[in-house]
Protein backbone atom coordinates (compact mmCIF):
# COMPACT_ATOMS: atom_id res chain seq x y z
CA UNK A 1 0.00 0.00 0.00
CA UNK A 2 2.87 2.43 0.72
CA UNK A 3 3.44 2.86 -3.03
CA UNK A 4 0.18 4.85 -3.04
CA UNK A 5 2.19 7.71 -1.50
CA UNK A 6 4.19 8.09 -4.69
CA UNK A 7 1.21 8.26 -7.00
CA UNK A 8 0.11 11.70 -8.13
CA UNK A 9 -3.50 12.86 -8.46
CA UNK A 10 -3.65 11.83 -12.13
CA UNK A 11 -2.34 8.33 -11.45
CA UNK A 12 -4.69 7.91 -8.50
CA UNK A 13 -7.57 9.12 -10.67
CA UNK A 14 -6.67 6.50 -13.25
CA UNK A 15 -6.47 3.75 -10.62
CA UNK A 16 -9.84 4.82 -9.20
CA UNK A 17 -11.50 4.86 -12.60
CA UNK A 18 -10.05 1.46 -13.48
CA UNK A 19 -11.35 0.15 -10.12
CA UNK A 20 -7.86 -0.96 -9.09
CA UNK A 21 -8.57 0.76 -5.82
CA UNK A 22 -11.67 2.37 -4.32
CA UNK A 23 -11.84 5.80 -2.75
CA UNK A 24 -12.86 4.13 0.52
CA UNK A 25 -9.63 2.08 0.45
CA UNK A 26 -7.51 5.11 -0.43
CA UNK A 27 -9.20 7.18 2.29
CA UNK A 28 -8.76 4.42 4.86
CA UNK A 29 -5.08 4.21 3.92
CA UNK A 30 -4.65 7.92 4.71
CA UNK A 31 -6.77 7.83 7.87
CA UNK A 32 -4.58 4.99 9.16
CA UNK A 33 -1.45 6.97 8.38
CA UNK A 34 -2.85 9.98 10.26
CA UNK A 35 -3.67 7.75 13.25
CA UNK A 36 -0.16 6.33 13.17
CA UNK A 37 1.90 9.47 12.64
CA UNK A 38 -0.04 12.59 13.52
CA UNK A 39 0.11 12.08 17.28
CA UNK A 40 3.72 13.16 16.93
CA UNK A 41 3.50 15.57 13.99
CA UNK A 42 0.32 17.39 15.12
CA UNK A 43 -0.62 18.70 11.67
CA UNK A 44 -4.37 18.10 11.92
CA UNK A 45 -6.53 20.10 14.31
CA UNK A 46 -9.46 17.79 13.65
CA UNK A 47 -9.70 14.61 11.60
CA UNK A 48 -13.16 14.11 10.10
CA UNK A 49 -12.95 10.35 9.66
CA UNK A 50 -16.64 9.55 9.37
CA UNK A 51 -17.28 12.41 6.97
CA UNK A 52 -14.24 11.33 4.93
CA UNK A 53 -15.57 7.80 4.52
CA UNK A 54 -19.02 9.12 3.67
CA UNK A 55 -17.51 11.36 0.97
CA UNK A 56 -15.38 8.45 -0.24
CA UNK A 57 -18.46 6.23 -0.61
CA UNK A 58 -20.19 9.00 -2.60
CA UNK A 59 -17.07 9.30 -4.78
CA UNK A 60 -17.01 5.55 -5.40
CA UNK A 61 -20.66 5.80 -6.45
CA UNK A 62 -19.75 8.61 -8.84
CA UNK A 63 -16.89 6.52 -10.23
CA UNK A 64 -19.21 3.56 -10.72
CA UNK A 65 -21.41 5.78 -12.84
CA UNK A 66 -18.33 6.61 -14.92
CA UNK A 67 -18.40 10.25 -13.84
CA UNK A 68 -14.96 10.43 -12.22
CA UNK A 69 -13.12 13.72 -12.87
CA UNK A 70 -10.44 16.04 -11.42
CA UNK A 71 -10.44 15.28 -7.69
CA UNK A 72 -13.07 12.53 -7.48
CA UNK A 73 -12.23 10.26 -4.57
CA UNK A 74 -8.96 12.06 -3.71
CA UNK A 75 -8.40 12.61 0.05
CA UNK A 76 -7.27 16.14 0.87
CA UNK A 77 -6.60 18.16 4.00
CA UNK A 78 -7.89 21.70 4.39
CA UNK A 79 -6.39 24.62 6.28
CA UNK A 80 -8.79 25.48 9.09
CA UNK A 81 -9.56 28.91 7.60
CA UNK A 82 -11.86 27.84 4.75
CA UNK A 83 -15.56 27.65 5.59
CA UNK A 84 -17.28 24.32 5.14
CA UNK A 85 -20.78 23.39 6.27
CA UNK A 86 -21.42 20.91 9.09
CA UNK A 87 -17.86 20.98 10.47
CA UNK A 88 -16.06 23.45 12.72
CA UNK A 89 -13.95 26.29 11.25
CA UNK A 90 -11.76 27.86 13.96
CA UNK A 91 -8.78 29.58 12.29
CA UNK A 92 -6.87 27.99 15.19
CA UNK A 93 -8.38 30.66 17.45
CA UNK A 94 -10.24 30.34 20.74
CA UNK A 95 -12.56 33.10 19.60
CA UNK A 96 -14.04 30.94 16.82
CA UNK A 97 -14.24 27.72 18.77
CA UNK A 98 -17.48 25.93 17.95
CA UNK A 99 -18.19 28.01 14.82
CA UNK A 100 -19.95 26.02 12.11
CA UNK A 101 -20.20 27.91 8.84
CA UNK A 102 -23.64 28.04 7.24
CA UNK A 103 -22.07 27.91 3.77
CA UNK A 104 -19.19 26.39 1.81
CA UNK A 105 -16.29 28.52 0.61
CA UNK A 106 -16.31 28.61 -3.20
CA UNK A 107 -13.14 26.47 -3.34
CA UNK A 108 -14.81 23.87 -1.10
CA UNK A 109 -17.97 23.93 -3.20
CA UNK A 110 -15.91 23.40 -6.37
CA UNK A 111 -13.98 20.55 -4.81
CA UNK A 112 -17.18 18.95 -3.50
CA UNK A 113 -18.62 19.14 -7.02
CA UNK A 114 -15.49 17.40 -8.23
CA UNK A 115 -15.98 14.71 -5.56
CA UNK A 116 -13.02 15.28 -3.20
CA UNK A 117 -12.71 13.58 0.19
CA UNK A 118 -12.23 15.80 3.24
CA UNK A 119 -9.76 14.17 5.65
CA UNK A 120 -9.78 16.98 8.17
CA UNK A 121 -8.75 20.46 9.17
CA UNK A 122 -5.10 21.47 9.25
CA UNK A 123 -3.30 23.56 11.83
CA UNK A 124 -2.17 27.13 11.19
CA UNK A 125 -1.08 30.29 12.93
CA UNK A 126 -4.12 31.91 14.53
CA UNK A 127 -5.98 33.82 11.78
CA UNK A 128 -3.01 33.04 9.48
CA UNK A 129 -0.80 35.50 11.38
CA UNK A 130 2.65 34.03 11.70
CA UNK A 131 5.52 32.27 9.96
CA UNK A 132 5.95 29.17 12.12
CA UNK A 133 2.48 27.87 13.10
CA UNK A 134 3.54 28.46 16.70
CA UNK A 135 0.73 31.03 17.01
CA UNK A 136 -1.95 28.34 16.82
CA UNK A 137 -3.95 28.51 20.02
CA UNK A 138 -4.47 24.73 19.98
CA UNK A 139 -1.23 22.91 19.21
CA UNK A 140 2.29 23.16 17.82
CA UNK A 141 2.96 21.38 14.51
CA UNK A 142 6.40 19.95 13.84
CA UNK A 143 8.55 19.91 10.74
CA UNK A 144 8.52 16.34 9.34
CA UNK A 145 12.22 16.58 8.43
CA UNK A 146 13.27 17.51 11.98
CA UNK A 147 10.74 17.37 14.78
CA UNK A 148 12.63 19.98 16.82
CA UNK A 149 11.94 22.53 14.13
CA UNK A 150 8.94 24.52 12.94
CA UNK A 151 7.14 23.69 9.67
CA UNK A 152 6.85 27.36 8.68
CA UNK A 153 3.57 29.20 8.57
CA UNK A 154 0.95 30.17 8.52
CA UNK A 155 -0.10 27.07 6.48
CA UNK A 156 2.28 24.92 8.54
CA UNK A 157 -0.23 22.14 9.17
CA UNK A 158 -0.92 21.87 5.42
CA UNK A 159 2.79 21.70 4.50
CA UNK A 160 3.66 19.21 7.26
CA UNK A 161 0.74 16.90 6.41
CA UNK A 162 1.62 16.90 2.70
CA UNK A 163 5.33 16.32 3.33
CA UNK A 164 4.68 13.49 5.79
CA UNK A 165 2.20 11.81 3.43
CA UNK A 166 -0.85 12.38 5.64
CA UNK A 167 -3.00 13.53 2.71
CA UNK A 168 -2.61 13.55 -1.07
CA UNK A 169 -2.60 17.34 -1.15
CA UNK A 170 -3.82 20.26 0.92
CA UNK A 171 -5.22 23.74 0.56
CA UNK A 172 -3.55 26.66 2.26
CA UNK A 173 -3.76 30.44 2.12
CA UNK A 174 -1.04 33.00 1.46
CA UNK A 175 -1.09 36.64 2.56
CA UNK A 176 2.67 37.32 2.74
CA UNK A 177 4.14 33.89 2.02
CA UNK A 178 1.94 31.58 4.09
CA UNK A 179 1.77 28.89 1.38
CA UNK A 180 5.23 29.26 -0.19
CA UNK A 181 7.30 29.59 3.00
CA UNK A 182 5.97 26.43 4.76
CA UNK A 183 6.06 24.59 1.41
CA UNK A 184 9.72 25.59 1.09
CA UNK A 185 10.60 24.65 4.67
CA UNK A 186 8.82 21.26 4.42
CA UNK A 187 9.97 20.36 0.90
CA UNK A 188 6.60 20.48 -0.86
CA UNK A 189 5.28 22.35 -3.87
CA UNK A 190 3.14 25.37 -2.95
CA UNK A 191 1.40 27.88 -5.18
CA UNK A 192 -0.05 31.28 -4.41
CA UNK A 193 -2.10 32.14 -7.48
CA UNK A 194 -2.50 35.61 -8.96
CA UNK A 195 -4.66 37.78 -6.73
CA UNK A 196 -8.21 37.23 -8.01
CA UNK A 197 -7.53 33.91 -9.77
CA UNK A 198 -9.12 31.87 -6.96
CA UNK A 199 -12.26 33.11 -5.22
CA UNK A 200 -11.84 34.27 -1.61
CA UNK A 201 -15.52 33.73 -0.81
CA UNK A 202 -15.60 31.71 2.41
CA UNK A 203 -11.94 32.34 3.24
CA UNK A 204 -11.93 33.92 6.70
CA UNK A 205 -10.36 37.30 5.96
CA UNK A 206 -7.03 38.42 7.39
CA UNK A 207 -5.81 41.06 4.90
CA UNK A 208 -8.33 41.16 2.08
CA UNK A 209 -6.16 42.88 -0.53
CA UNK A 210 -3.41 40.27 -0.12
CA UNK A 211 -5.05 36.92 0.77
CA UNK A 212 -5.17 34.10 -1.80
CA UNK A 213 -5.99 30.39 -1.56
CA UNK A 214 -3.74 27.82 -3.21
CA UNK A 215 -2.54 24.19 -3.23
CA UNK A 216 0.30 22.50 -1.33
CA UNK A 217 1.27 19.21 -2.97
CA UNK A 218 4.04 16.61 -3.29
CA UNK A 219 4.38 17.16 -7.04
CA UNK A 220 4.01 19.88 -9.65
CA UNK A 221 1.39 17.83 -11.51
CA UNK A 222 -0.73 17.64 -8.36
CA UNK A 223 -0.40 21.38 -7.96
CA UNK A 224 -1.74 21.88 -11.49
CA UNK A 225 -4.55 19.37 -10.91
CA UNK A 226 -5.77 21.04 -7.71
CA UNK A 227 -5.45 24.55 -9.15
CA UNK A 228 -7.54 23.46 -12.14
CA UNK A 229 -10.46 22.68 -9.84
CA UNK A 230 -10.30 25.74 -7.58
CA UNK A 231 -9.44 28.49 -10.10
CA UNK A 232 -11.97 30.60 -11.94
CA UNK A 233 -14.28 33.57 -11.75
CA UNK A 234 -16.81 33.75 -8.93
CA UNK A 235 -19.52 36.40 -8.70
CA UNK A 236 -19.43 36.02 -4.89
CA UNK A 237 -15.97 37.67 -4.80
CA UNK A 238 -15.89 41.11 -6.39
CA UNK A 239 -12.10 40.91 -6.74
CA UNK A 240 -12.33 37.68 -8.72
CA UNK A 241 -10.86 37.94 -12.25
CA UNK A 242 -13.33 37.18 -15.06
CA UNK A 243 -10.79 35.42 -17.29
CA UNK A 244 -11.04 31.86 -18.58
CA UNK A 245 -8.93 29.20 -16.83
CA UNK A 246 -6.32 27.52 -19.05
CA UNK A 247 -5.61 23.80 -19.00
CA UNK A 248 -2.77 23.88 -16.48
CA UNK A 249 -1.72 20.27 -16.97
CA UNK A 250 -1.10 20.97 -20.66
CA UNK A 251 1.91 23.13 -19.66
CA UNK A 252 3.62 20.23 -17.91
CA UNK A 253 6.30 18.53 -19.93
CA UNK A 254 6.92 21.51 -22.21
CA UNK A 255 10.56 22.56 -22.35
CA UNK A 256 12.01 25.88 -21.19
CA UNK A 257 14.11 26.69 -24.25
CA UNK A 258 14.33 30.43 -24.66
CA UNK A 259 12.71 31.13 -21.28
CA UNK A 260 14.14 34.33 -19.79
CA UNK A 261 14.76 33.86 -16.08
CA UNK A 262 15.13 37.10 -14.13
CA UNK A 263 17.41 37.03 -11.09
CA UNK A 264 16.96 40.06 -8.82
CA UNK A 265 20.28 41.22 -7.43
CA UNK A 266 18.60 42.46 -4.23
CA UNK A 267 17.55 38.91 -3.29
CA UNK A 268 20.93 37.56 -2.33
CA UNK A 269 21.00 39.36 0.98
CA UNK A 270 23.22 39.34 4.00
CA UNK A 271 22.00 36.77 6.50
CA UNK A 272 21.07 34.33 3.78
CA UNK A 273 22.36 30.86 4.57
CA UNK A 274 25.19 29.61 2.34
CA UNK A 275 23.42 26.30 1.59
CA UNK A 276 20.26 28.12 0.55
CA UNK A 277 22.22 30.37 -1.77
CA UNK A 278 24.17 27.55 -3.44
CA UNK A 279 21.09 25.34 -3.78
CA UNK A 280 19.12 28.11 -5.47
CA UNK A 281 22.06 28.91 -7.74
CA UNK A 282 22.39 25.30 -8.85
CA UNK A 283 18.63 25.11 -9.50
CA UNK A 284 18.97 28.13 -11.77
CA UNK A 285 21.76 26.28 -13.61
CA UNK A 286 19.27 23.49 -14.28
CA UNK A 287 17.25 25.98 -16.29
CA UNK A 288 20.31 27.24 -18.14
CA UNK A 289 21.23 23.66 -19.06
CA UNK A 290 17.72 23.25 -20.43
CA UNK A 291 18.01 26.23 -22.74
CA UNK A 292 16.75 29.08 -20.58
CA UNK A 293 18.70 32.32 -20.33
CA UNK A 294 19.48 34.16 -17.12
CA UNK A 295 18.80 37.90 -17.01
CA UNK A 296 20.06 40.00 -14.10
CA UNK A 297 17.24 42.30 -12.98
CA UNK A 298 16.68 44.81 -10.23
CA UNK A 299 13.79 45.16 -7.77
CA UNK A 300 15.10 48.28 -6.05
CA UNK A 301 12.45 48.63 -3.33
CA UNK A 302 12.89 45.13 -1.87
CA UNK A 303 14.33 46.40 1.42
CA UNK A 304 11.07 48.26 2.09
CA UNK A 305 8.85 45.20 1.61
CA UNK A 306 8.52 44.09 5.22
CA UNK A 307 7.74 47.58 6.54
CA UNK A 308 5.17 48.19 3.78
CA UNK A 309 3.55 44.80 4.26
CA UNK A 310 3.18 45.02 8.03
CA UNK A 311 1.48 48.40 7.77
CA UNK A 312 -0.99 47.22 5.14
CA UNK A 313 -1.73 43.78 6.55
CA UNK A 314 -2.17 44.94 10.13
CA UNK A 315 -4.42 47.82 9.03
CA UNK A 316 -6.63 45.44 7.07
CA UNK A 317 -6.54 42.86 9.88
CA UNK A 318 -7.59 45.33 12.56
CA UNK A 319 -10.61 46.18 10.42
CA UNK A 320 -11.44 42.59 9.40
CA UNK A 321 -11.15 41.26 12.94
CA UNK A 322 -13.59 43.84 14.31
CA UNK A 323 -16.31 41.29 13.51
CA UNK A 324 -15.28 39.06 16.43
CA UNK A 325 -17.33 40.76 19.09
CA UNK A 326 -18.97 37.91 20.98
CA UNK A 327 -22.34 38.62 19.37
CA UNK A 328 -22.69 36.69 16.13
CA UNK A 329 -20.57 33.58 16.59
CA UNK A 330 -17.86 31.93 18.62
CA UNK A 331 -16.75 32.71 22.14
CA UNK A 332 -18.27 35.31 24.49
CA UNK A 333 -17.00 36.44 27.89
CA UNK A 334 -19.58 38.03 30.20
CA UNK A 335 -19.56 41.80 30.75
CA UNK A 336 -21.83 44.24 32.56
CA UNK A 337 -22.38 46.31 29.42
CA UNK A 338 -21.69 45.78 25.75
CA UNK A 339 -18.32 47.54 25.62
CA UNK A 340 -17.02 45.55 28.55
CA UNK A 341 -18.32 42.35 26.94
CA UNK A 342 -16.52 43.23 23.67
CA UNK A 343 -13.26 43.90 25.47
CA UNK A 344 -13.34 40.84 27.68
CA UNK A 345 -14.36 38.58 24.80
CA UNK A 346 -11.65 39.84 22.46
CA UNK A 347 -8.94 39.93 25.11
CA UNK A 348 -9.59 36.34 26.18
CA UNK A 349 -10.38 35.03 22.69
CA UNK A 350 -7.42 36.35 20.70
CA UNK A 351 -3.82 35.23 21.15
CA UNK A 352 -0.75 37.40 21.57
CA UNK A 353 0.23 37.89 17.92
CA UNK A 354 -3.34 38.67 16.84
CA UNK A 355 -3.66 41.30 19.56
CA UNK A 356 -0.28 42.75 18.62
CA UNK A 357 -1.42 43.13 15.01
CA UNK A 358 -4.80 44.60 15.94
CA UNK A 359 -3.03 47.23 18.04
CA UNK A 360 -0.48 47.98 15.33
CA UNK A 361 -3.17 48.13 12.63
CA UNK A 362 -5.42 50.32 14.74
CA UNK A 363 -2.47 52.63 15.39
CA UNK A 364 -1.48 53.06 11.72
CA UNK A 365 -5.09 53.81 10.78
CA UNK A 366 -5.76 56.14 13.70
CA UNK A 367 -6.30 59.83 13.24
CA UNK A 368 -3.01 61.70 12.92
CA UNK A 369 -1.00 58.66 11.78
CA UNK A 370 -3.01 57.52 8.77
CA UNK A 371 -1.07 59.60 6.23
CA UNK A 372 2.34 58.82 7.72
CA UNK A 373 1.81 55.07 7.73
CA UNK A 374 -1.15 53.67 5.81
CA UNK A 375 -1.16 56.17 2.95
CA UNK A 376 2.62 56.06 2.67
CA UNK A 377 2.59 52.24 2.56
CA UNK A 378 -0.03 52.35 -0.22
CA UNK A 379 2.28 54.60 -2.22
CA UNK A 380 5.28 52.34 -1.70
CA UNK A 381 3.10 49.41 -2.70
CA UNK A 382 2.58 51.11 -6.05
CA UNK A 383 6.37 51.31 -6.40
CA UNK A 384 6.61 47.53 -5.92
CA UNK A 385 4.11 47.02 -8.70
CA UNK A 386 6.17 49.35 -10.89
CA UNK A 387 9.40 47.45 -10.06
CA UNK A 388 7.86 44.16 -11.16
CA UNK A 389 6.27 45.65 -14.29
CA UNK A 390 9.68 46.94 -15.36
CA UNK A 391 11.45 43.69 -14.51
CA UNK A 392 8.94 41.66 -16.53
CA UNK A 393 9.77 43.72 -19.62
CA UNK A 394 13.09 41.88 -19.63
CA UNK A 395 12.18 38.41 -18.35
CA UNK A 396 9.35 35.85 -18.34
CA UNK A 397 9.70 34.54 -14.79
CA UNK A 398 11.71 35.63 -11.75
CA UNK A 399 13.54 33.13 -9.56
CA UNK A 400 14.64 33.60 -5.95
CA UNK A 401 14.97 31.65 -2.74
CA UNK A 402 11.66 31.19 -0.89
CA UNK A 403 13.24 32.00 2.49
CA UNK A 404 16.70 33.20 3.49
CA UNK A 405 17.11 30.22 5.86
CA UNK A 406 15.90 26.65 6.25
CA UNK A 407 13.47 25.71 9.05
CA UNK A 408 14.39 27.27 12.38
CA UNK A 409 14.01 25.75 15.83
CA UNK A 410 10.73 25.95 17.72
CA UNK A 411 10.69 28.95 20.04
CA UNK A 412 13.69 30.58 18.37
CA UNK A 413 11.90 33.69 17.05
CA UNK A 414 8.82 33.87 19.25
CA UNK A 415 10.11 36.61 21.54
CA UNK A 416 11.19 38.90 18.72
CA UNK A 417 8.33 39.59 16.30
CA UNK A 418 10.44 41.76 14.00
CA UNK A 419 12.94 38.95 13.30
CA UNK A 420 10.02 36.63 12.61
CA UNK A 421 8.54 39.20 10.21
CA UNK A 422 11.87 39.53 8.35
CA UNK A 423 11.87 35.82 7.50
CA UNK A 424 9.22 36.58 4.85
CA UNK A 425 11.26 39.15 2.92
CA UNK A 426 11.33 37.20 -0.38
CA UNK A 427 7.66 36.24 -0.48
CA UNK A 428 6.00 39.48 0.66
CA UNK A 429 6.65 41.62 -2.46
CA UNK A 430 4.71 39.08 -4.55
CA UNK A 431 1.56 39.61 -2.48
CA UNK A 432 1.96 43.39 -2.50
CA UNK A 433 2.00 43.33 -6.31
CA UNK A 434 -0.75 40.66 -6.56
CA UNK A 435 1.47 38.33 -8.61
CA UNK A 436 1.52 34.52 -8.63
CA UNK A 437 4.37 32.84 -6.75
CA UNK A 438 5.32 29.18 -6.59
CA UNK A 439 7.63 27.26 -4.29
CA UNK A 440 9.29 24.12 -5.62
CA UNK A 441 11.86 22.02 -3.71
CA UNK A 442 15.40 22.55 -5.04
CA UNK A 443 17.62 20.76 -2.51
CA UNK A 444 18.56 20.12 1.11
CA UNK A 445 21.01 21.87 3.38
CA UNK A 446 23.79 20.00 5.20
CA UNK A 447 21.39 19.36 8.11
CA UNK A 448 19.02 17.57 5.73
CA UNK A 449 16.42 20.35 5.75
CA UNK A 450 14.55 21.22 2.52
CA UNK A 451 15.23 24.35 0.49
CA UNK A 452 12.67 25.94 -1.81
CA UNK A 453 13.06 27.81 -5.09
CA UNK A 454 10.51 30.58 -5.63
CA UNK A 455 9.24 31.17 -9.17
CA UNK A 456 7.39 34.45 -9.62
CA UNK A 457 5.26 35.01 -12.71
CA UNK A 458 3.35 37.73 -14.50
CA UNK A 459 -0.34 38.04 -13.61
CA UNK A 460 -2.26 34.88 -14.63
CA UNK A 461 0.93 33.14 -15.80
CA UNK A 462 0.51 30.12 -13.49
CA UNK A 463 0.78 27.76 -16.48
CA UNK A 464 4.28 28.93 -17.40
CA UNK A 465 5.36 28.76 -13.74
CA UNK A 466 4.15 25.17 -13.43
CA UNK A 467 5.95 24.36 -16.68
CA UNK A 468 9.21 25.73 -15.26
CA UNK A 469 8.70 24.11 -11.85
CA UNK A 470 8.21 20.72 -13.47
CA UNK A 471 11.54 20.99 -15.31
CA UNK A 472 13.24 21.59 -11.96
CA UNK A 473 11.36 18.78 -10.20
CA UNK A 474 11.92 16.31 -13.00
CA UNK A 475 15.64 16.97 -13.24
CA UNK A 476 16.41 17.04 -9.50
CA UNK A 477 14.27 14.01 -8.46
CA UNK A 478 14.46 14.95 -4.78
CA UNK A 479 13.20 12.82 -1.94
CA UNK A 480 9.66 13.85 -1.01
CA UNK A 481 8.77 12.07 2.23
CA UNK A 482 11.18 11.81 5.18
CA UNK A 483 12.21 8.24 6.13
CA UNK A 484 10.46 8.24 9.48
CA UNK A 485 7.09 8.56 7.70
CA UNK A 486 7.56 5.72 5.23
Amino acid sequence: MEELLNKNVLELGEALRRKEISSVELTTFYLKRIAKYDGELRSYLRVTGELALEMARAADEKLRRGEGEGLTGIPLGIKDILCMTNIETTCASQILKGFIAPYDATVIRRMKESGFVNLGRLNMDEFAMGSSTENSSFQVTKNPWDLERIPGGSSGGSAAAVAAGLCVAALGTDTGGSIRQPAGLCGTVGLKPTYGRVSRYGLVAFASSLDQIGPLTRSVKDCAAVLQVIAGHDPMDSTSIPQPVPDYLSFIGRDVKGLRVGIPREYFIEGMEEDVKSSVESAIKVFERNGASVVPITLPHTEYAVATYYIICTAEASSNLARYDGVKYGFRAPGKDIIEMYKKTRSAGFGKEVKRRIILGTYVLSSGYYDAYYRKAGQVRALFKRDFDRAFEECDVIMTAVSPTTAFRAGEKMEDPLTMYLSDIFTIPVNLAGLPGLSVPCGFDRKGLPIGLQIIGKPLDEGLMLQAAYVCENELQLKKIPDRFV
Binding site: F99, S209, T239, G330, E340, R356, L360, K376
Partner: protein, 97 residues
Protein backbone atom coordinates in the same frame (compact mmCIF):
# COMPACT_ATOMS: atom_id res chain seq x y z
CA UNK B 1 10.41 56.49 22.10
CA UNK B 2 7.42 57.07 19.86
CA UNK B 3 5.16 54.76 21.74
CA UNK B 4 4.24 55.22 25.37
CA UNK B 5 2.05 53.12 27.63
CA UNK B 6 -0.72 55.72 27.26
CA UNK B 7 -0.70 55.33 23.48
CA UNK B 8 -0.95 51.54 23.75
CA UNK B 9 -3.82 51.80 26.23
CA UNK B 10 -5.65 54.28 24.01
CA UNK B 11 -5.19 52.22 20.84
CA UNK B 12 -6.20 49.03 22.68
CA UNK B 13 -9.41 50.78 23.72
CA UNK B 14 -10.09 51.75 20.09
CA UNK B 15 -9.52 48.10 19.10
CA UNK B 16 -11.77 46.96 21.97
CA UNK B 17 -9.02 45.12 23.79
CA UNK B 18 -8.29 45.13 27.49
CA UNK B 19 -4.62 44.55 28.27
CA UNK B 20 -3.04 43.62 31.58
CA UNK B 21 -0.05 45.67 32.82
CA UNK B 22 2.39 43.01 31.65
CA UNK B 23 0.95 43.02 28.12
CA UNK B 24 1.01 46.82 27.99
CA UNK B 25 4.68 46.76 28.94
CA UNK B 26 5.52 44.13 26.33
CA UNK B 27 3.56 45.68 23.47
CA UNK B 28 4.93 49.15 24.21
CA UNK B 29 8.51 48.00 23.65
CA UNK B 30 7.73 45.79 20.66
CA UNK B 31 5.57 48.31 18.85
CA UNK B 32 8.10 51.02 19.42
CA UNK B 33 10.79 49.02 17.64
CA UNK B 34 8.43 47.85 14.87
CA UNK B 35 7.28 51.42 14.17
CA UNK B 36 10.86 52.63 14.22
CA UNK B 37 11.62 50.00 11.59
CA UNK B 38 8.61 51.15 9.55
CA UNK B 39 9.90 54.70 9.58
CA UNK B 40 12.44 53.65 6.97
CA UNK B 41 9.68 54.23 4.42
CA UNK B 42 10.13 57.95 5.05
CA UNK B 43 13.46 57.71 3.23
CA UNK B 44 11.53 57.16 0.00
CA UNK B 45 10.25 60.08 -2.00
CA UNK B 46 6.69 59.18 -3.00
CA UNK B 47 5.56 62.62 -4.10
CA UNK B 48 2.80 62.30 -6.68
CA UNK B 49 2.51 58.49 -6.38
CA UNK B 50 -1.10 57.38 -6.22
CA UNK B 51 -1.54 54.95 -3.28
CA UNK B 52 -2.38 51.42 -4.36
CA UNK B 53 -5.05 49.69 -2.28
CA UNK B 54 -5.52 46.65 -4.48
CA UNK B 55 -3.57 44.63 -7.01
CA UNK B 56 -6.55 44.41 -9.37
CA UNK B 57 -7.81 47.59 -10.97
CA UNK B 58 -11.45 46.49 -10.56
CA UNK B 59 -13.82 49.34 -9.80
CA UNK B 60 -17.55 49.01 -9.30
CA UNK B 61 -18.22 45.36 -10.01
CA UNK B 62 -21.94 45.19 -10.75
CA UNK B 63 -24.40 42.32 -10.81
CA UNK B 64 -28.03 41.96 -11.76
CA UNK B 65 -30.43 43.05 -9.02
CA UNK B 66 -32.50 39.94 -8.61
CA UNK B 67 -33.98 37.95 -5.77
CA UNK B 68 -32.02 34.85 -4.80
CA UNK B 69 -32.32 32.48 -1.89
CA UNK B 70 -30.68 33.80 1.28
CA UNK B 71 -29.76 32.33 4.63
CA UNK B 72 -32.59 31.22 6.89
CA UNK B 73 -32.99 32.82 10.30
CA UNK B 74 -31.71 29.64 11.90
CA UNK B 75 -28.58 29.68 9.75
CA UNK B 76 -28.05 33.37 10.48
CA UNK B 77 -28.31 33.31 14.26
CA UNK B 78 -27.49 29.65 14.85
CA UNK B 79 -23.88 30.36 15.85
CA UNK B 80 -24.72 33.12 18.36
CA UNK B 81 -23.35 32.58 21.87
CA UNK B 82 -26.66 33.96 23.21
CA UNK B 83 -29.95 34.47 21.46
CA UNK B 84 -33.63 35.02 22.06
CA UNK B 85 -35.69 33.38 19.36
CA UNK B 86 -34.56 34.87 16.08
CA UNK B 87 -32.52 37.67 17.70
CA UNK B 88 -28.93 38.06 18.88
CA UNK B 89 -28.94 38.75 22.61
CA UNK B 90 -26.41 41.29 23.98
CA UNK B 91 -25.69 42.96 27.34
CA UNK B 92 -27.19 46.45 27.98
CA UNK B 93 -26.08 49.12 25.49
CA UNK B 94 -27.87 52.07 27.10
CA UNK B 95 -27.69 52.64 30.82
CA UNK B 96 -31.00 52.20 32.60
CA UNK B 97 -31.62 53.86 35.96
Amino acid sequence: MKITRDVIEYVAHLGRLELDPHEIEEYTGQLDSILEYMDKLNALDTTGVEPMSHAIPNVNVFREDRIVESFSVEESVGNAPERTGSFFKVPPIIEVE
